[in-house]
């Protein structure tokens, strides 16, 4: 549901990746579903440091996208989704603009490792947060286990909803490495697929989960 993802501050309940890794130790770390592209980086100190207002009301902001500092001049009302897709140059277009009102899940990104609809987050509110999109989870040559399983199980047709599903499932497996089918349905209940790939998405999520099990043994 919409509210579940909106601006959720999860550090208290969700240990986050770094603490999670510390908890499971190095062996677990290699097995966990993790971002493949995620160099360690310092957080932007405070929002103030990274906002440069100008007389026409636009702001220069710095966002931490997939491990890179990216700068753009946006309006205060510009959503994170539009900032990623239209204001960054080159843009980050994995998250798709489909409904622009938090009903379809195609724009799902990770904000500090928790899934969020980028169309419901203002770009200025994402300053200082770690933003991860499907591009940051893997590349065609180094796909993460969820992406590999999506390809293997044919969990995509036109593919427009796919980055959103991949991101939501990757977040689920990070938090819950062995989800049940019901938990998988719940994790992406806010994602629509018009081509009708849901059963394949479930299979892919289970496959990715099993893959991380095997790696742990």
């Amino acid at each position: 549901m919409t509210d579940r993802r909106r601006g959720e501050k999860t550090d208290a309940v969700d240990p986050g990746r770094r603490r999670f890794l510390k908890g499971v130790g190095l062996a677990g770390a290699s097995a966990a579903i993790i971002d493949l592209i995620e160099p360690e980086m310092a957080r932007a100190e405070t929002p103030k440091d990274s906002v440069q207002p100008s007389p026409d009301g636009t702001l220069e902001i710095t966002l931490l996208v997939n491990g890179q500092r990216r700068t753009a001049r946006v309006e205060p009302r510009t959503t994170l989704l539009t900032a990623l897709r239209e204001y960054l140059d080159p843009p980050v277009t994995g998250p798709k603009l489909v409904c622009d009102m938090g009903t379809c899940g195609a724009c799902t990104v990770l904000l500090d490792d928790a899934p969020a609809y980028a169309c419901l987050v203002l770009a200025v509110d994402a300053i200082g947060k770690k933003i991860t999109t499907a591009e940051g989870l893997g590349t065609p040559d180094r796909m993460n286990p969820v992406q590999r399983a999506f390809v293997e199980k044919d969990a995509l047709m036109c593919g427009f909803c796919t980055p959103g599903f991949v991101t939501a499932i990757s977040a689920l497996l990070r938090k819950n490495p062995r989800p049940t089918l019901e938990e998988i349905r719940e994790a992406c209940q806010g994602n629509f697929c018009r081509c009708g790939t849901y059963p394949r998405v479930f299979e892919a999520a289970l496959m990715a989960s099993a893959a991380s099990d095997r790696a742990e043994e």
Partner: protein, 735 residues
């Protein structure tokens, strides 16, 4: 080019032959002209296997470039101003404030020439292009339009009345077909043992493509333009774009690298594409104009609604004797579509009239199996009602009135798979099963020109201008070439989605694979033949003796690796062309669907438990992608059966649910166990499309399962809990 033709010989092929209304496959001998043939369906190395989609990796990592993702230097953002009224004359459009806004670069006023009438809520009035999406949105809001409202009608029930507001000067009704002898049908009906009289309705549906309609028009003045389009037809863009830009068609290129769903709604550039071109021409700068989600619902087409009235009669033995049908197809300003009744069934006597009813709503477009799901829901519900009234098993009743033995085979297969014998004989247990049947053409035509190139370093490319709308076109295109040359799928690279490449048909009516695959096969075959001419002397063999398999070219115990063989090619490598070959494609499919559902008798909520779809497809090019398409068809069907429908306010003439919040699509919690079955008993060694047939019988099977579960016959889609509760209340009143 010297190409040795093998000596003429005979070969056997299977062709369909219709005798006494029954289609059978018969074997005939034809002269073998030495051209390509697919060979037995079970003897393929790559085709008819589960092939992983070649565009999967770029799609799952978010880097696949869709039209919506294009970003060009100096690009402007287009937005459309829509009419809030169903029918109105535009008196005045004031763009002065919008024009003064910083960042606004172009404004198109469609009402400029005066006497401009909007005819549906959402009808475009103006468009702007600005430097950011936010400014474009502000500019749209800054345009002031004065309307003089005119009378409107948005409901078919009202539109058919003689005093209804007229949508067209000729009136709101347009007869499309009248067939059969009404008097004879009435006389036969009077003699039947069992009669059912009923009417069935389906609402307007939306394609709801996740990527909205739209274009990025790369035009900066000058004599050339590139149009990135989210379309089902690369070549359906050029002529209109050229006209709008005032360029010769040869100076315009269209690009469709990836596209996010069409389902029948994306052919041609549409009003949104024309506006994008006009804005780009005015601003002399590239314009990205993608529809908003609300635009998409209101002005990018829809699947037409239907309203069908039947009187049907059968005899005790289960023979459908006579049917009288009045079929209204509700396409708004368009014609809509509806397959003629009794659809796939055989009725000894039938009379049908098919009438388009016009309303002040956006024109319907083709939508996955145009007219078939609507016809199927009505006739399959009716057949079920007759069966229950006769006390017959609905499956047996169907078989009795289906002459084609393929349906019998598929129904038996589906029944086994779902466990039809477990089905409650009396409705009302809260759990039930239903079935339904469909048909589609899905053939091909000579429209594609494919090029295969083999380079001296061993790389292989296949190029054609076609588009992959999510069905796996890229994958089978690669696989056909790889198989022909004895290579792996990763050894071939395909280029598609570019009008500078070879001609290709639009993806409509399940014709892509049946039109394209034969041309790809022909090109690959010709490339192999050319290569054989060069390589044969090196192996001391005749060209026709060479084997291309497992990455080698061999003959009589001697072989060359693929790379060695390619190194012997001329400097320019090999370029071969291919065209459609009739013997490589077929048309005409069957298809059955079974559904099991649970109905909560307290809340009226329907929970699908299992669906099974059995589909003949000729030669399955890629089993994995076909099974995905069958699953997708079932899901769209169940979504339409239980959730989807446009809701109009009759008084205001506006759509009340133009967004995903209130236009419900099936999500993860609605999905039952799904069993897609490719009917491998289909003997045809030829390619047939499968997109539409997967989407025909599923909704009807769900509707019939709902009746079997709870005893309530819902005759209007979607089958929502309120309708079931109302039905259950009526049952109790009658009891």
């Amino acid at each position: 080019m010297i190409q040795q033709q093998p000596a003429k010989k005979k070969r056997k092929v299977l062709v369909p032959r219709v005798e006494n209304g029954i289609e059978r496959m018969v074997e005939i001998e034809v002269e073998d002209e030495g051209g390509p043939s697919w060979g037995p369906n079970n003897a393929h190395k790559l085709l008819n296997h589960h092939l992983v989609r070649v565009d999967g990796p770029v799609k799952v990592t978010g880097i696949a470039a869709y039209t919506y993702d294009r970003h060009l230097p100096g690009m402007l953002y287009g937005r459309i101003l829509r009419s809030p009224h169903a029918h109105a004359r535009v008196v005045r459009v004031d763009t002065s404030q919008a024009q003064r806004m910083p960042g606004v670069r172009a404004i198109v006023n469609l009402a400029e020439r005066g006497n401009y009438v909007v005819r549906f809520m959402g009808d475009p009035v103006a468009a702007v292009a600005a430097t950011t999406p936010e400014i474009a949105e502000d500019a749209i809001r800054a345009i002031k339009v004065e309307y003089e409202e005119l009378p409107h009608v948005v409901r078919a029930d009202e539109a058919i009345k003689p005093d209804a507001p007229k949508v067209f000067p000729e009136g709101n009704l347009e007869e499309k077909e009248r067939r059969g002898d009404l008097a004879k049908v009435e006389a036969e009906l009077a003699r039947c043992d069992v009669i059912v009289e009923a009417e069935y309705r389906t609402p307007t549906h939306h394609h709801a493509c996740l990527e909205t309609h739209g274009h990025v028009v790369d035009y900066r003045g000058g004599d050339r333009a590139v149009i990135y389009a989210s379309t089902q037809g690369t070549f359906t863009i050029l002529s209109d774009a050229a006209k709008e830009l005032g360029l010769p068609q040869s100076a315009v290129v269209s690009i469709v690298e990836h596209m996010g769903g069409g389902f029948g709604s994306k052919f041609g550039i549409g009003i949104e594409g024309k506006l994008a071109c006009q804005l780009a021409k005015q601003a002399r700068a590239p314009v990205k104009l993608m529809l908003t989600r609300k635009d998409e619902f209101l002005l990018a087409g829809n699947g037409p609604g239907s309203w069908q009235r039947f009187k049907a009669g059968a005899t005790r033995d289960g023979t459908l004797v006579a049917l009288r049908a009045t079929q209204y197809q509700m396409g708004g300003l368009g014609d809509g579509s509806l397959a003629g009744q009794p659809y796939i069934y055989t009725a000894r006597h039938f009379y049908r009239e098919r009438i388009a009813v016009h309303t002040h709503e956006d024109a319907a477009r083709a939508m996955r199996a145009p007219g078939h799901p609507q016809a199927s829901f009505a006739i399959e519900s009716l057949m079920d009602e007759l069966a229950y009234k006769l006390g017959m098993d609905p499956l047996e009743f169907r078989k009795k009135n289906l002459r084609d033995p393929v349906y019998h085979r598929q129904l038996d297969r589906g029944a086994r798979e779902i466990g039809w014998q477990r089905r409650p004989k009396e409705p009302g247990t809260g759990r039930g099963m239903g079935c339904a049947v469909g048909t589609w053409g899905g053939g091909g035509a000579p429209q594609c020109k494919v090029t295969v190139q083999i380079a001296r370093d061993g790389t292989v490319g296949v190029a054609v201008g076609t588009q992959d709308i999510g069905t796996g076109t890229r994958t089978f295109t690669r696989a056909i070439v790889a198989e022909e040359l004895g290579l792996n799928i990763r050894d071939v690279v395909e280029r598609i989605g570019d009008s500078r490449l070879g001609a290709a048909n639009a993806s409509g009516g399940s014709t892509t694979a049946a039109s394209l695959a034969p041309a790809v096969k022909d090109a690959a075959y010709n490339a192999r033949m050319q290569m054989a001419q060069v390589i044969a002397p090196l192996l001391g063999a005749k060209p026709e003796e060479l084997q291309f398999a497992d990455g080698k070219v061999s003959s009589g115990g001697k072989s060359l690796t693929w790379r060695q063989a390619c190194a012997a090619l001329p400097l320019a490598g090999i370029t071969a062309q291919g065209e459609w070959k009739a013997n490589l494609a077929a048309s005409g499919v069957h298809g059955v669907c079974f559904a099991e559902v649970e109905v909560d008798m307290e809340t009226g909520h329907v929970r699908p438990i299992k669906m099974v779809h059995v589909q003949d497809v000729g030669l399955p090019l890629n089993r994995l992608a076909i099974e995905s398409q069958l699953i997708g068809g079932m899901i769209q069907s169940l979504s339409m059966a239980l959730l989807e429908g446009r809701v109009m306010d009759a008084r205001l003439g506006v759509q009340l649910n133009p967004h995903f919040g209130d236009y419900k699509l099936a999500g993860t919690f609605e999905i039952p166990e799904m069993i897609p079955i490719i009917d491998d008993e289909d003997p045809r060694q030829a390619v047939i499309g499968v997109g539409e047939p997967a989407h025909i019988p599923g909704g009807s099977a769900i509707a019939n399962a709902v009746f079997n579960a709870c005893g309530v016959r819902v005759r209007e889609l979607p089958i929502t809990p309120d309708k079931i509760l109302q039905g259950l209340a009526e049952q109790r009143r009658r009891a």
